[in-house]
Amino acid sequence: MSAPQTFFTMGGYAAYVWPAYAVFFIVLIADTVAPRLRRRRVLRELRARLVRQQARQDRAGSNSIPTPPSP
């Protein structure tokens, strides 16, 4: 048998060896991707919160009703 062929057939154990390697890579890729997605979500939510805060401040500032002086 040629070398590349033995590599893919794994001496008849391909059905066990390759799924094992697949699980290894799939789980670790998921572990790498998950925090990246979370980071993006966290920052997006934070920006939305900052925009809301800014809008509230602007509204409070533009109203002509005199606000009582804060203590």
Binding site: F7, G11, G12, Y16, F24, D31, R39, V42, L46, L50
Partner: protein, 252 residues
């Protein structure tokens, strides 16, 4: 000695400093992990000869043993961080402990699945209630327990303290996993690698295994840095340094 080391550690413990520090080291750790991992895979899958007893099925060892070792190594690291978090109430220690748990659970899961895939052709069964396998399954449940307890509380820091307590109690399982093959009669084979003596493996097979064990260490560092950074952003959302990052990253 001088007191610059505690001072440096104290500074590193502050979230913005650690955020920058981890951000600088993370790409290097990931690059080393990928490079060493690729070398180990080439050595293990291509260069190493087939085993005289197990044929090519033994090649699962190059991911099974490093993952198993990481499942215990990360638990120990999580336990130490949990202890520091409980005693000194350091926020960064809580983050390190709680963000280690999913990585450890991932490696424990890989260990159990790859072990199962190796057990079927060699032992004729996917699973057996053997001391090594059972204690490793308990390890997975401990990780899931820590993760679950952490998220069960409204207040994150309170959750982290409860989960840290569970993590410390669970450390007792780590030596049980490690020594189970010596303490009980197990179907699982004994240690292949011997730190203080002759390993039961030829060098052709040993070096890819050791390289992969090193690669998974760097992977853990990279993954932990990435996760801890994200967690610090989520925890410190109200602080100026996080607002600045949020604003900077909005610009394309």
């Amino acid at each position: 000695m001088s007191n610059w080391i505690p001072l440096w550690l104290h500074k590193l413990g502050s979230p913005p400093t650690f955020y920058r520090f981890a951000g600088a080291l993370q790409p290097w750790a990931m690059t080393l992990a990928l490079l060493l991992g690729a070398i180990a895979l080439y050595g293990g899958l291509v260069l190493a000869p087939a085993d005289y007893q197990q044929g090519d099925a033994y090649r699962i060892i190059f991911i099974h043993v490093p993952s198993a070792e990481m499942s215990m190594f990360i638990y120990a690291a999580m336990g130490v961080a949990a202890f520091i978090a409980l005693v000194w109430r350091i926020k960064l220690a809580e983050v390190v402990a709680m963000e280690s748990a999913p990585i450890g659970a991932a490696f424990t899961f890989i260990t159990l699945v790859t072990g199962s895939l190796w057990g079927k052709p060699m032992w004729g069964t996917w699973w057996t209630w053997d001391a090594r396998l059972t204690s490793e399954l308990v390890l997975l449940f401990l990780y899931l327990g820590v993760i679950g307890l952490y998220h069960a509380f409204e207040d994150r820091r309170q959750g982290a303290r409860a989960a840290a307590f569970l993590a410390i109690i669970g450390i007792i399982n780590v030596p049980i996993v490690h020594f189970s093959v010596n303490w009980w009669n197990t179907l699982h084979q004994g240690s292949t690698i011997n730190v203080f003596g002759q390993s039961k493996m030829s060098w052709d097979m040993l070096w890819p295994l050791l390289t992969m064990m090193l690669a998974t260490k760097f992977y853990y560092a990279a993954s932990l840095f990435r996760r801890a950074r994200t967690d610090l952003l989520a925890m410190e959302g109200g602080k100026d340094w996080v607002r600045k990052i949020a604003a900077d990253e909005a610009k394309p």
